[in-house]
């Protein structure tokens, strides 16, 4: 009996330790500011170039995550990339002439959408489109431009 008791205690401690390790991993190593909201509205925007933007990438305003990208597809009619993203409904007063740019977190980090407030009286709502966009910066294009412009000086 004594032996089974110590086995049970050992197993209990082991499982508790394992569970708390799992809990630690799921809560502490993953991003704390991960976006999760039940009530959202969807907005879309068309870009010439989305770089490496992927679904689930964050949508941030003034550096605070307020939503996330739901899909990145190619629109064959407009020949542009269509990005849809959802925004937490509690931020319902974003002007509809705000502009969306694809930015990079850090020098080589992942890409996200940054919103910059405009001055319109009307707000974005479900299904509206953002017209003012800025494409992702592609390193090769940047270098190309730099070379061309520096060549033009001579």
């Amino acid at each position: 009996m004594q032996q089974t008791r110590s086995v049970e205690i050992g197993t209990g401690l082991f499982v508790l330790l394992g569970m708390s390790a799992l809990f630690f991993l799921t809560t502490q190593t993953t991003g704390g500011d991960r976006f999760s909201a039940d009530d959202t509205y969807e907005v879309e925007a068309y870009f010439e170039n989305v770089g490496s933007l992927k679904a689930r990438a964050p949508v941030a305003m003034s550096g605070v995550t307020i939503g996330r990208v739901t899909s990145v597809t190619f629109d064959a009619e407009r020949l542009q990339a269509k990005v849809t993203f959802e925004i937490d409904s509690q931020y319902g007063t974003i002007p509809d002439d705000s502009d969306a740019s694809i930015l990079t977190s850090g020098l080589l980090g992942s890409q996200y959408i940054g919103l910059q407030a405009g001055g319109s009286e009307d707000s974005l709502e479900d299904g509206s489109e953002i017209f003012f966009v800025q494409d992702a910066i592609v390193l090769e294009n940047l270098i190309g431009k730099f070379l061309v412009s520096s060549g033009g000086d001579e």
Partner: protein, 257 residues
Amino acid sequence: MKSAVRDIYNNVFEFVRTFGAFQLFFLRLIRHSPRMLMRRPGLVIKQIYNTGALSLVIIMVCGFFVGGVLGLQGFANLARFNAEDSVGAVVALALLKELGPVITALLFAGRAGTALSSEIGLMKATDQLSAMEMMAVNPVRRVLVPRFLGGVIAMPMLVAIFTCVGLFGAHVVSVDLLNVDVGAFWQQMQLSVDMDDVQEGIFKSIVFGIVASLMAVWEGYNAIPTAEGVGRATTRTVVITAIAVLIFDFMITAIML
């Protein structure tokens, strides 16, 4: 020439037969598992203790040093790009997705897998399994299923503990010894680690738990019931588990990408 063809044929035939027997064996274990869990949880608990709790020391020591060396290497190599702050992210991703599950599975094969297969092999060699059979007790259900379940349940816990201790080791090396900023360490980690990465690790640990326990139980049960046969079965357990774990790791990673 003819006999060579015949040999190949026999070998292929034998391989297919063994493979089929292995599948059926797995199904038998699965079939008995729910009832064993419901009716005799005590037996399973004892095996969780044997495979899990008794492997804790080796898992924690190894986890600490693996995390530590990742911290060192990560720091040294990231320093070339002036990106030492990312060491937390690199270590966490490596541990969560790859090294945690894989190294734990390999250690598990060495510590718990060998113990399982030699225990079962010895039970077979000393007629204990036949004795159960004669007492109208199904040894697959009474002996193999609890050991299999114990391993399957213990493995994800061991992986989680290994990973946590590994992070701690990396933290000690990079933050406490190499002066990486503690905030940067955790922030970079949290920025780059996704829930998906954690899930991948958990999924792998479950698969490896099944693979490692299954191999150990299978090899023990099919050991030639002599001292030499049990020794060989023990060796085979480690070798086959290692190969199977690495192959499965590659396949899962390829699918999940």
